[in-house]
């Protein structure tokens, strides 16, 4: 599904990704861990098409298509979803209107008929109930005045409504209390399916206690330095990141 080959990227003159290789198949859950500054969030952003990062080498195929040649909106329409580490507040645009516009943009791209307001409402209520999301949040402007936990839940909710084929979660677990963490984990588990790939970018092992990954990768200084099964996360939990190259940890 997703094939990253020797991906290199920089922001201004600073090299951040120094050659990433990663393959994600449908049905797999991958966790990407690593200390702050290792480049794991940058990887997530580059895949979603954030323009501040300049790709300087390598390539990414999504279902055999050149992902890096696509505009951010086309990546989303192809089925990539990035749950933001810091979801953006958008005053004046209701969650409902925003999501319906997004969903219909994708349906139109796929050659499907747009959902009318009634069908959309039905879908949204279903997904909100599934994730235990407070329906009052739907009528409110996107993320405006939401608590940290509400914002992260809203990301998972958007993911459920948009039904992507590849979910990339960027530090979705950071700053959550245990109830919010469980809610987010439940949302991810609900989304887990043989047709979907999931990439979880996280600093901590905490979330992985609830969402058990198939593969764990450790990033340091712009590279994946180790890959393994779910037991690697536990190992990291015990050892921390200190065993990585000292200059990489400081970076």
């Amino acid at each position: 599904m997703l094939e990253i080959r020797n991906l290199q990227a920089r922001v201004q003159d600073k090299e951040i990704l120094k050659g990433i290789d990663l393959k994600v198949n449908a049905g797999e859950v991958h966790a990407i861990m690593g200390p702050n500054g290792s480049g794991k969030s940058t990887l997530a952003q580059v895949l979603a098409g954030r323009e501040v990062y300049e790709v300087t080498g390598g390539g990414v195929l999504f279902d055999g298509k050149d992902l890096l040649a696509m505009k951010p909106e086309d990546r989303a329409r192809e089925g990539i979803f990035l749950a933001f580490q810091y979801p953006v507040e958008i005053p004046g645009v209701s969650n409902m209107y925003f999501l319906r516009t997004a969903l219909n943009a994708r349906r139109k791209y796929q050659g499907l008929e747009e959902l009318d307001a009634m069908d959309f409402l039905q879908l949204v209520k279903e997904k909100a109930a599934l994730l235990g999301l407070n329906e009052a949040l739907l009528a409110r402007p996107v993320n405006e005045g939401f608590s940290g936990g509400e914002k992260k839940r809203n990301e998972i909710f958007q993911m459920a409504v948009l039904d992507p084929r590849l979910c990339i979660l960027d530090e979705t677990d950071s700053g959550l209390d245990i109830d919010a963490l469980k809610a987010v984990a439940n949302g991810i588990n609900v989304m887990r399916s043989p047709e979907r790939g999931i990439v979880i970018v996280t600093h901590y092992q905490r979330l992985l206690g609830y969402v058990v990954p198939d593969f764990v990768h450790v990033m340091s200084n712009g590279r994946i330095v180790r890959s393994g099964g779910k037991e690697l996360a536990l190992e990291l939990e015990q050892q921390g990141y200190a065993w990585l190259e000292p200059e990489a940890v400081r970076a």
């Binding site: 909106e73 989303a76 958008i90 004046g92 997004a102 943009a105 791209y109 948009l162």
Partner: protein
């Protein structure tokens, strides 16, 4: 500023004095500090002496002509009874007729022309306008719509709105231009909000880009009255809107909200004055502008707190979105505070569409142009959502979306 009652009571004398005053003052120039950013001269040249077109009016295609409520229509400054429908339960009609039969003695009592040349010009030249008298304790369910249509030439509408004690009403003033001819609108509205009244005023200005529009709303507020203004400027080549509210009674509350949208070479100037004259008065002001092309916006927000006006609470904000490199905004707060126990804050912002938000929308599959347009429309939400009449809110939202969809690209 405070209710300077002129020593002249006869209308004829008042108008003669106004004419003489205008002859002394002349049209304002950019040498006048209050007109520093707005130059009338090029527009005045194009106007000439042409009269309004005699073509029959086609109002049906105008989204703001029929607002599903009683309306008084004025064409080129003259009352058009055949297009009007009188509201029930309130005295509303031609100011001219009222003056001819010896009424409406308050005309000119509030809008002072001593320092304001265009108030002088209007006072000297007006032919007609609306007189609306809302009795004490009268609560109007339906808004009253005052519609001013120009087909070319000069018009000087003059309105007097008298809202009695504990009354409640919504008054809408709409200014539209029809046809191809340049026109000049010079309008003055005097509005008295009696003690305890709750009055909402909405002005929609959508004249043609060949228009020079100047309008003054002079509000006199009684004790514990609550006045709200929504001032929406979409049209005219050059528009200047002045609002002067005097919070003359204790505990008066005034909310001024404005939205201006300019593109091409449009120039839109808002000059507001909030005069806190008594204790415990509150004002909230929020003006938002969206400027594209080579347009020019001006916001001048003056707040006066008189020595008697202790415990005043005044908040003023002006936010602007510039969609192009050629667009310009001049924003200027002017606080004159003569009391010591007050809270007055002001702030102005000028910016572009938030790039973080644009990326967020795109990452969900919304295209770049649609993301920008959605965020620009959202910027207007804070003003539109407070408009008390649903039909206007939705038609304005539609008109604004249509206008913004082509901008900033």
């Amino acid at each position: 500023m405070t209710a300077a009652v002129l020593p002249i009571h006869e209308l004829r004398d008042l108008r003669q004095a106004a004419k003489e005053r205008f002859d002394v003052l002349g049209f304002p120039t950019t040498k006048n500090e209050d007109w520093k950013f707005t130059n009338l001269a090029p527009f005045l040249k194009t106007l000439g002496a042409q009269a309004g077109s005699a073509e029959p009016l086609n109002l049906a295609a105008q989204p703001f002509a029929d607002l599903r409520c009683p309306r008084l229509v004025f064409v080129n400054g003259r009352f058009a009874p055949e297009l009007s429908s009188a509201p029930a339960g309130v005295k509303a009609g031609s100011l001219r007729e009222a003056l001819d039969s010896g009424g409406a003695g308050q005309v000119g009592r509030y809008a002072d022309f001593e320092k304001n040349a265009l108030v002088a010009l209007n006072t000297a030249e007006f032919e007609d306008g609306a007189l609306v008298e809302i009795g004490n304790g009268c609560v109007l369910d339906s808004p009253i719509h005052l519609l001013f249509v120009s087909t070319g030439g000069a018009a000087y509408p003059r309105n007097l709105i008298l809202a009695g004690r504990d009354s409640q009403a919504t008054v809408i003033e709409t200014y539209l231009g029809l046809g191809e001819q340049p026109n000049f609108t010079c309008a003055v509205t005097e509005l008295v909000a009696g003690d305890g009244s709750v009055i909402s005023h909405l002005k929609l200005q959508d004249e043609s880009t060949r228009a020079l529009h100047w309008g003054m709303l002079r509000v006199e507020q009684g004790a514990s009255s609550n006045f709200t203004s929504h001032n929406i400027a979409l049209g005219a080549g050059l528009a200047r809107n002045e609002i002067a509210a005097v919070l003359a009674g204790e505990g008066a509350e005034c909310t001024l909200k404005g939205l201006y949208l300019a593109t091409g070479r449009q120039h839109i100037d808002n000059y507001t004055t909030l005069d806190h004259a008594r204790e415990h008065s509150t004002s909230h002001e929020l003006y938002k502008g969206i400027l594209d092309g080579d347009s020019h916006g001006v916001f001048h927000g003056r707040i006066i707190v008189r020595p008697e006006a202790q415990k005043t609470d005044a908040i003023q904000r002006n936010k602007n979105l510039l969609l192009s490199r050629g667009a310009v905004i001049n924003t200027k707060p002017q606080l004159e505070i003569y009391a010591d126990d007050v809270r007055c804050t002001h702030g102005a912002t000028v910016g572009q569409v938030d790039q973080e938000a644009v990326f967020y929308l795109r990452s969900r599959g919304i295209g770049l142009a649609e993301a920008r347009s959605l965020l620009t429309v959202a910027f207007t939400g804070e003003i539109l959502e407070g408009i008390p009449v649903e039909v206007i809110r939705s038609r304005l939202a539609t008109a604004i979306s249509a206008r913004l969809s082509g901008l900033g690209s």
